[in-house]
Amino acid sequence: MAFDVSERDVGADSLTAIKILVAGGFGAGKTTLVGSVSEIKPLRTEETLSERSELVDSLHGVEQKSTTTVAMDFGRITIRKDLVVYLFGTPGQQRFWFMWDDLAYGALGAVVMADERRLADCFPSVDYFEAKGIPFVVAVNCFDGMRRHSLEAISQALNLTADVPVIACDARRRESSRDVLVALAQHAIARHHGRRAA
């Protein structure tokens, strides 16, 4: 169906929506980060995600499609009237892995929130974004302002390639969370150049 817009509409293409995912283990600060930079009260929503099997859609009335409902945090940053960043805080558990494709579709990149005390919690997210070739940064949430390990050590522990930025942040602070997003966008640009050079 053609998109039919009225004259006073500026058209569907006038809004460029940027999707950024915020992943990581339970309690790593995903909700806090989304909340500190979002211009709207973050929406805690539930989304039904389906296993990516479009074929099943055509089997009318056959209820074999597996779906699950996950809680998601949603935030919004309007950069310009026609350029809006959407943040999706997504569950990091590995059991949701196969459903992330819905969320990751078209994403600019991802922030993986890490809690130093439970670094292993972000392995699934790191694995996923690496496998999908989606640019990501790791944000080490320093709850108490203290860092136990150097960022380098964390990068090694997560077995990251050298180009993946690891940043310390305080997700409660707006500027700090913003800096994480800026680092992600810059990393995406660097990746872009890297690909062209390759």
Binding site: A2, D9, I18, T45, I79, V84, Y86, R174, A188
Partner: protein, 123 residues
Amino acid sequence: MQPFDPEWLDQEAGPVVRPYALTGGLTRPTGQRFDLLDMVGVVRRATQDKQQLAPEQAEVLERCQIPAPLIDLAADLDLPVGVIRILVSDLRERGLVAIHRAQPVGFGDLKILQEVVDGLRRI
């Protein structure tokens, strides 16, 4: 019958109406599935009588006079995403709205990425 006890029906009580009451009993969307960032816009020449719409559907129509992403409808109208999906798919079946697939910007568009960097720095 006792009148409602205000003690149980304050702001903290949350919604007292079950979601399916807002969707005419529908519990799942129909037709092609859409993404949270897909744009929903009103169809200009729609002739259907809008009087038959539920208030929430009328609100959705009003809100997407200028096309808006599905997730914005949920946020701005304060309705669960699942409910919005159903309301929108029903409106689409009635020919009142059209869905425009979101084109992924991804990380391929250098110009937009730079605008995002600059824009984020200003917030």
